[in-house]
């Protein structure tokens, strides 16, 4: 007999609740873990998500009808008890904890274990089925300490007062986290933003994330940005837009920067290993910690994590979800 939770290529179906988790096509009832485009699509009939995620979806897709669910709050849909628990990935990100028929399932969406000043930390929830991501599911991915990466960024900035540092960072989550980490490291100069960042940063501020003096890079004279940090989406790093900047040092904040060739392919001069996903040690430690009887791996380098689970006597399967793991941008 089919399990009450069913993985499909277009999302995870919760049969008794007749609801989909992070569906990639419009559905009548959608439970959304967080606001990244590969998890939160537009066009659903009704959405349950955290207040922050709903606000992000509203910004991206216009008005979305949705029910806000606070962290720790319980809702019931068709005999399933549903609870949203912090995932530590980006502002508003949640794991969805589902309890039904005496069995508990945790769907993590994306998550990380490092502290992030823009969102509450991941809470491990022991469960029977653990549905995990595997973006950095290879043992070569071990993210270094965040502070040391931010220090490298500041060192490059201070060593080149006549230049600027252009940081490529995903517009939702990474950009704001980089800015907050810089502020926490004592950098209070104005930070300039690419146009594609502005609305999301404004929303973060509205939702209570303090980011200090942020200015649009668009209508500022180049010389004013000398010695300054500019944050732009990764796609803008080598694009025409960057020609307006004063001799920028190209940096990129991403877990992929751990691999030299990856950084070189992107013409990055200052790779910053800064990720919003769990690294290999965090993935495997988390599986040990929540001690599931079965692990489902949604997206990423699932083969290696699958192999690790098998060698550690943990039942595991890889789910083939479409449209996930857009590694070009996110990471």
């Amino acid at each position: 007999m089919a399990h009450w939770i069913e993985p499909h290529p277009t999302g995870i179906y919760v049969r008794p609740a007749d609801a989909w988790i992070d569906p990639s096509v419009p559905r009548e009832r959608a439970l959304v873990t967080h606001g990244h485009a590969d998890h939160a699509r537009g066009g659903h009939g009704h959405v349950w998500a955290t207040r922050e995620t709903l606000a992000i979806m509203g910004l991206r897709y216009g008005t979305a009808s949705g029910t806000p669910v606070g962290y720790g709050e319980e809702i019931r849909l068709g005999g399933v008890t549903i609870r949203y628990v912090p995932a530590g990935h980006v502002l508003g990100s949640a794991q969805i904890v589902l309890t039904h028929a005496g069995e508990r399932v945790v769907v993590t969406g994306d998550y990380k274990r490092r502290p992030d000043p823009t969102c509450p930390p991941f809470e491990p929830v022991p469960c029977d089925i653990f549905v995990t991501e595997a973006t950095f599911g290879l043992p070569v991915f071990r993210h270094p300490d965040t502070g040391s990466e931010i220090d490298r960024l500041l060192a490059a900035l201070h060593a080149n007062p006549d230049r600027s540092v252009l940081v490529g960072a995903y517009a939702l989550g990474k950009a704001q986290r980089v800015i907050c980490e810089l502020r926490a490291r004592g950098h209070h100069d104005p930070i300039y933003l690419h146009g594609a960042m502005e609305r999301m940063c404004n929303l973060y501020v509205e939702l209570g994330v303090e980011m200090g003096d942020l200015r649009p890079a668009t209508d500022v004279a180049a010389k004013e940005m000398r010695g300054a940090i500019i944050v732009a989406p990764p796609s803008a790093l080598n694009d025409r837009w960057s020609r307006r900047l004063p001799d920028p040092i190209t940096a990129m904040a991403s877990g992929w920067m751990r691999v030299r060739q990856r950084a070189r392919q992107k013409n990055v001069e200052l790779p910053l290993i800064l990720s919003d996903h769990a690294d290999w040690d965090e993935l495997t430690d988390t599986i040990r910690e929540v001690a599931p009887t079965e692990t489902w791996i949604t997206h990423g380098r699932e083969e290696a994590l699958l192999h690790w689970c098998m060698t550690h006597q943990i039942r595991a399967r890889a789910l083939a979800l479409v449209g996930r793991d857009d590694e070009e941008e996110e990471g």
Binding site: L138, P139, V140, F141, R142, P144, N238, D239, R240, W241, S242, R243, T250, R258, V259, R260, Q261, A263, R264, Q265, N267, V268, E269, L270, P271, D281, R301, E303, A304, H307, W308, T311
Partner: protein, 531 residues
């Protein structure tokens, strides 16, 4: 180790030459002795360690990490040293991925020097435990031989000179009198000791170079004409028997290329410094110099097989004599040096050295006719040298001119475009272009990234963006509508392109917006230009 591993990392990511020089200079100024001397040795390829085999490193990691996970990781990362550096497990109880600062570069070098090949993997493993991922990567690169950070020995020496406000040619002169970790060199650079004495060492002298001829003619009473050969410029430096018969071959950039052409180095035993063109003999030209294409088979090789030497026999066509014995001839007029060179020729092995002939022409018009009629594959043009010119470093106005053969041109169709590097990284500035086959297909014949003005580059960039039909990573395929007039020095058979052709020095001569793509040249037509 951390300053050195950080330097290597930064060199990997820095594309501009000036940026690399600044990094090397900053490191050499701040790192302690003897670490920086060993670093300089590593960067210049003068660090001679017993290499640990890649297979031994593979075994080390398989003993520590699940072999399946290792294979998956290696498939993903590509490079063995990088995979192992990233995968290396942290010893129990240690914080992850931390350079504990106990291991200096000098300590690493001493340890690797002192270890037998059999014991090397264990020694390596112990050192790995004290390093972070960058440090492990640097260590593995040192231990396996070859840093491959994209810098030449000459660039490293230039970085050294820049660090201490010295002239790189002064550094070059004393270089071969010294050995790693170059303590005497740093002592001199920082004013603690006099300049090391280079006497008796085979050091590089900077080449004299030529300007392109722009005037319509020159007076052959003042200028001698000589063929310009299409090989690579080379300097042969020998110390003679009184200094242990050391011979070195230097490229135009001052890099020591002796190991790539051992037969030339072995054939020269004299005490002199000569300037010439390195060429290979072509079978099809009756033992004459072959095209540059043949020489290319020999370039960039660290080790040269006997077969390579037999298939592409190298020789040097001599242009000039800079020193004979201890006598420096460089201040003498060219005519006198030329006479000395001719007199020196009988001392040389005739199978490896010949004399670049001068051209007798009644006047400049006659010379132009001779140049136009030159059929030899290895002739790149004509050199004009002032008869009274001393041999001076670099390009000095009005002394030497190069008068290249007129370039060939072809009308080609742009097929693909790729972003440039550095300042050009936001522009699609590298273009692959093709010509028509009899079946009406376009086959690539070359790639060019120069020849256009800044304004033209902006126009080309816009064309690429507006006419993209497909993307492959950093490459865009464009509508096959734009004709580019491509200039090139010569064209050769090649297996690299589908068309079977490769151009030498292709550059964009003109953008032919007026010309329909269907009227561009054919691959067959280009094949007729192969020499």
């Amino acid at each position: 180790m951390r300053p050195f591993s950080q330097l290597l990392d930064a060199l990997v990511y820095t594309r501009s030459r000036n940026g690399k020089l600044a990094l090397i200079a900053a490191y050499l100024r701040s790192a302690p002795d003897p670490d920086r001397g060993w670093a300089l040795a590593a960067l210049t390829g003068n660090l001679d360690l017993k290499a640990v085999k890649s297979s031994a490193i593979g075994e080390m990691i398989r003993a520590r990490v699940d072999p399946v996970l290792y294979e998956m990781s290696r498939d993903y990362v590509g490079d063995l040293a990088e995979t192992v550096a990233l995968l290396w497990p942290t010893p129990p109880g240690e914080p992850p991925d931390l350079d504990d600062g106990t291991l200096t570069l000098a300590a690493v070098v001493d340890r690797l020097h002192a270890t037998s090949r059999a014991a090397a993997p264990d020694a390596l493993a112990q050192m790995m435990d004290h390093l972070d991922a960058s440090g492990r990567f640097a260590l593995l690169k040192l231990a396996t031989g070859g840093l491959r950070v994209g810098i030449s020995a000459r660039l490293a020496k230039t970085g050294f000179a820049q660090a201490f406000g010295l002239d790189v040619d002064d550094v070059e002169q004393v270089w071969h009198a010294l050995s790693p970790p170059y303590t005497a060199l740093f002592d001199w650079a920082e004013g603690r000791a006099p300049r090391p004495d280079p006497a008796g060492t085979p050091f590089f002298r900077p080449f004299m170079l030529a300007h392109p001829l722009e005037a319509d003619s020159v007076d052959l009473a003042d200028y001698a004409a000589e063929w310009k050969w299409d090989g690579i410029r080379i300097q042969i430096v020998g110390t003679g028997p009184e200094h242990g018969r050391q011979t070195r071959l230097y490229s135009r950039a001052g890099d020591d290329i002796s190991a790539s052409f051992p037969e030339i180095a072995a054939a020269f035993t004299g005490h002199a410094v000569l300037d010439g063109e390195l060429l290979v003999r072509g079978e099809f030209q009756g033992g004459e110099a072959a095209s540059f294409n043949a020489l290319q088979q020999r370039l960039g090789r660290k080790l040269v097989s006997a077969k390579m030497q037999a298939d592409y026999p190298a020789f040097v066509r001599l242009y000039d004599l800079l020193l004979e014995g201890d006598e420096d001839l460089r201040a003498l007029p060219w005519e006198q040096r030329r006479a000395r060179l001719e007199a020196y020729m009988p001392h040389l092995d005739a199978t490896r050295f010949d004399l670049s002939a001068t051209i007798d022409a009644a006047d400049f018009d006659a010379l132009a006719d001779i140049r136009a009629g030159a059929r030899d594959a290895a002739i790149e043009g004509v050199m004009l040298k002032r008869r009274d010119s001393p041999y001076v470093a670099g390009r000095k106005a009005a002394l030497w001119y190069k008068w290249k053969r007129d370039p060939l041109t072809a009308d080609c169709v742009m097929m693909y475009a790729q972003r440039g590097h550095g300042k050009r990284s936001s522009f699609y500035s590298d273009y692959t272009f093709g010509c028509w086959t009899p079946d009406g297909e376009l086959h690539p014949v070359g790639k060019a990234y120069s020849g256009f003005t800044d304004e033209e580059l902006k126009w080309l960039d816009r064309f690429v963006r507006q006419n993209t039909v497909a993307r492959f990573g950093p490459v865009r395929e464009v509508e096959k509508t734009l004709v580019l007039e491509v200039a090139f020095d010569s064209i050769h058979d090649s297996k690299r392109h589908k068309s079977g052709l490769a151009m030498r020095f292709p550059r964009i001569a003109r953008i032919r917006r007026d010309k329909p793509a269907a009227e561009a040249d054919t691959v067959e037509g280009l094949k007729k230009l192969v020499r």
